[in-house]
């Protein structure tokens, strides 16, 4: 058992952190967020240059052969810097579908475009009724000759407004909540019948509502088995959850640092407020919550490629619960200890709080995953 990064991983961590520290200061981020498209094309280019956009892909397709640990490193750094670019949706999430489900032809066609920064992708999954259930799919993919005709409305498609292509779940058979009969399709954003409306999310990211109306795709648009794509979806989302946990840990770490720093400089009653024992203990409690979240994120990172799907899902749900709970506690306490200034847009801490809150609401919040674990087997049997 070894918790240390190897030399290459340490180098990766340093490079990403140097880049974000140098180029993504809080003020810069504010300007990026305020302007169109809500993220920085320049940074995107930098990520490409650094190889981050090629990170998890096989070197056979021009990738860097990075694994979950490399993704964790990048996402944690992005969490610390609160980056706004569509890395998660393009590389981790949509990239996951390509890595685990796509044909060699699909990979050869798309991965180089992702790696060089020219193609962004988004995962069109959530529907009005689906809440957090990945298998709850009302969108349909009707067979039409060799291809399919897709109909459906997808909500809160993260970075869906800037995506060149969508990864879309649609039903090829079965009832709305049947776990079989779900297909995964690659659909051009400018295909006939696709329309979208982009908007900002609470945390300053972007998302879109996307409508698919009789959108025709060819057989080459199918990722994996069109009649049994759900295991693929689960697997990719588990990896995505691990990545989101890492981002949340980065954000929590910064909230904790910012808070401790503030306790040292803010004076009331003639002393730094960090001299008050109640606030010291609150900061200590934050630290404990942060470290517990970090531990579970490491577990999630390790487990997200586990071949035992039940054990994998259980560990990932456990991590999402811990990270959700820790994030909520760390965020709420950070704001409370900052007092009023923590609630202003001018101070960074509130932005981190918003991000961790939205991460909790992505792919199932703590309550959702706790109920899931509670419905299953023991987590601790060995």
């Amino acid at each position: 058992m070894d918790f240390d990064l190897n030399d290459e991983q340490r180098l990766l961590k340093e490079s990403v952190e140097r880049l974000t520290t140098d180029r993504y200061a809080f003020e810069t981020r504010g300007k990026v967020m305020a302007a169109e498209p809500g993220w920085s094309a320049q940074m995107w280019g930098q990520y490409a240059e650094l190889g981050l956009l090629a990170l998890p892909f096989s070197s056979d397709h021009g990738g860097m052969d990075g694994g979950p640990v490399e993704t964790m490193i990048v996402m944690e750094a992005f969490g610390k810097a609160l980056t706004l670019e569509p890395f998660f949706t393009t590389v981790v999430l949509s990239g996951g579908f390509l890595r685990h489900g796509a044909s060699d032809d699909q990979k050869a066609a798309l991965i180089p475009q992702i790696a060089d920064g020219s193609l962004k992708l988004a995962f069109a999954q959530t529907e009005k009724q689906s809440r957090y259930d990945l298998f709850d799919v009302a969108a349909t993919a009707r067979r039409d000759g060799d291809g399919f005709v897709i109909d459906g409305a997808k909500s809160v498609v993260l970075h869906g407004d800037s995506a060149g292509k969508f990864i879309v779940t649609a039903r090829t058979g079965g009832e709305r909540r049947y776990k079989g009969g779900i297909g995964v399709f690659i659909v051009d954003a400018d295909a006939s019948g696709v329309s979208r409306r982009g908007y900002r999310t609470q945390d300053g990211h972007r998302a879109a509502e996307v409508l698919f109306e009789s959108v025709r795709v060819g057989a080459d648009a199918v990722v994996g088995d069109p009649d049994d794509g759900f295991p693929l979806v689960e697997r990719v989302v588990d990896e995505a959850i691990a990545a989101l946990c890492a981002e949340a840990v980065g954000a929590m770490e910064r909230m904790h640092e910012l808070t401790v720093d503030y306790l040292k400089v803010r004076k009331q009653f003639g002393v730094p407020i960090g001299k008050f024992q109640v606030l010291q203990h609150a900061a200590a409690d934050m630290f404990v919550a942060l470290e517990q979240a970090r531990s579970m994120t490491m577990l999630a990172t390790m487990m997200c490629q586990d071949e035992d799907a039940a054990a994998r899902r259980s560990a990932l749900s456990a991590a999402k619960v811990q990270v959700g709970k820790s994030g909520k506690f760390v965020g709420e306490t950070a704001i409370q200890l900052h007092g009023g200034v923590g609630m202003t847009m001018e101070f960074p801490v509130g932005h981190y709080f918003k991000r961790t809150t939205m991460i909790d609401a992505t792919f199932g919040n703590a309550e959702h995953h706790l109920a899931r674990i509670a419905g299953g087997a023991s987590l601790i049997a060995a």
Binding site: D136, Q202, A361
Partner: protein, 401 residues
């Protein structure tokens, strides 16, 4: 001991409830019921309806427009207003500066300001907090130097709620920087916001709203007749003012209304293909919050009843710290529950102040205010004496530690 309302109290509650339901304009009611912001106009409209009815300032002395109701009736009145839900009156006028003026002000001040507060002809804001003076309010530094028949005010106030609409601000200012203790040498002055030298700058909060402001004073000339009470006695008036918050502080009616709404909304969304309201985890979380609220309501009523017994002297009761602590925790718990209800639809953010509704097809439409409210309501455990300060008060004033 009889913990039921008297028939008179029940009749009063029904009268108030009926009036609120009938008199509150439908559009304002809709905004309130759906958790949206209400704007200045809505607050003014409603206050004038109340004033017309003679219910603008029930807690004031009768000679200034009050109703003469005892604490229990006042409590019922507020509770019903919150449950309707109708907009609460602008507290800076009706609950804050009004009582200070009728208690410590001179006749001219009473005549000039009180009727206009009741009818909200003047929009008031509060100039207490400063960037360096939050929990430690007495360390404030905004100065007022006497110069003939004027004070010249210099300094900065912050967290000034709704100052963007304000006609007047009541301020704590330091008139004697030489005073021995920091609580001494502070005066309470009323300042016309149109006076040259005042600059209001918005503070944007993380929910995306604009409720609070910074207010800068640069050689602002304030006539000496705008001093309330005695010079250098302002700290006493401020303590009086803050001690008056008691009956309203727990906001039981607000939480009741929100929990009822959450229960209804949770029946409209599904989890695991059944209504969320049927999920055991959600029901237990909701029930646990309801129990806390029920207990708080009883605690609140105990404080009100004790108040009535004492003859409503308006003395600050340290037990009100319980109301503040539990009240804020429960209000925040309701925002948390609403986040559970909206699930992934917490994410979309609608631009434009005071409009958090989701356009179609983002669904459901009522999900819009959930996250901004969750963010915004973090303030409840911070302002008006943070929960940490409230626990200090309990430890010292009640427990003698």
């Amino acid at each position: 001991m009889d913990l039921t309302f008297t028939p008179e109290e029940i009749a009063f509650r029904d009268e108030v409830r009926t009036f609120f339901r009938e008199a509150l304009p439908a559009d304002i009611h809709k905004k309130m019921a759906e958790g949206h912001h209400v704007g200045k106009e809505d607050i003014v409209t409603w206050q004038r309806i109340l004033n017309e009815k003679g219910w603008a300032v029930p807690h004031w002395p009768v000679e200034h427009g009050g109703t003469g109701w005892g604490p229990m009736k006042q409590y019922i009145f507020q509770e019903e207003m919150q449950r309707t839900p109708a907009p609460s009156p602008l507290q800076f006028g009706v609950f804050m500066v009004g009582p200070v003026i009728y208690t410590f002000g001179n006749d001219a001040q009473k005549a000039q300001f009180l009727p206009r507060i009741a009818n909200i002809d003047d929009w008031w804001c509060q100039g207490f907090s400063e960037p360096g003076s939050g929990s430690d309010l007495a360390s404030l530094r905004t100065s007022a130097k006497r110069n003939g028949d004027h004070f010249v005010v210099n300094g900065q106030k912050t967290w000034t709620t709704l100052a963007q609409y304000a006609d007047w601000i009541f301020c704590l200012v330091r008139t004697n920087p030489e005073a021995e203790k920091k609580q001494q040498g502070i005066s309470f002055v009323l300042i016309d916001m149109k006076t040259p030298g005042i600059d209001v700058r918005p503070i944007q909060t993380i929910d995306g709203g604009h409720e609070v402001n910074e207010v800068f004073f640069d050689d602002v000339r304030v006539p000496v007749e705008n001093l309330v009470g005695e010079e250098n006695r302002g700290w006493d008036y401020a303590k009086f003012l803050l001690g008056n918050e008691r009956t309203n502080i727990a906001r039981v009616g607000v939480s009741k209304q929100r929990l009822e709404r959450i229960r209804a909304l949770a029946a409209q969304v599904s989890e695991n293909d059944r209504p969320l309201i049927e999920a055991p985890w959600f029901r237990e979380k909701l029930a646990a919050t309801e129990i806390e609220l029920k207990a708080l309501e009883m605690t609140q009523l105990r404080v009100v009843a004790a108040d009535a017994k004492r003859g409503n002297k308006g003395q600050p009761d340290p037990a009100s710290s319980i109301l503040k602590i539990k009240g804020s925790q429960i209000q925040q718990a309701t925002t948390d529950l609403l986040m559970d209800v909206v699930g992934p639809f917490a994410l979309p953010f609608q631009e434009g102040e005071d409009d958090f509704s989701n356009e179609m097809p983002i669904a459901p439409v009522w999900a819009g205010p959930a996250a901004p409210t969750y963010f915004n309501w973090r303030k409840i455990s911070i302002y008006g004496g943070s929960n940490e300060i409230q626990k200090n008060i309990i430890a010292k004033a009640i427990l003698g530690l």
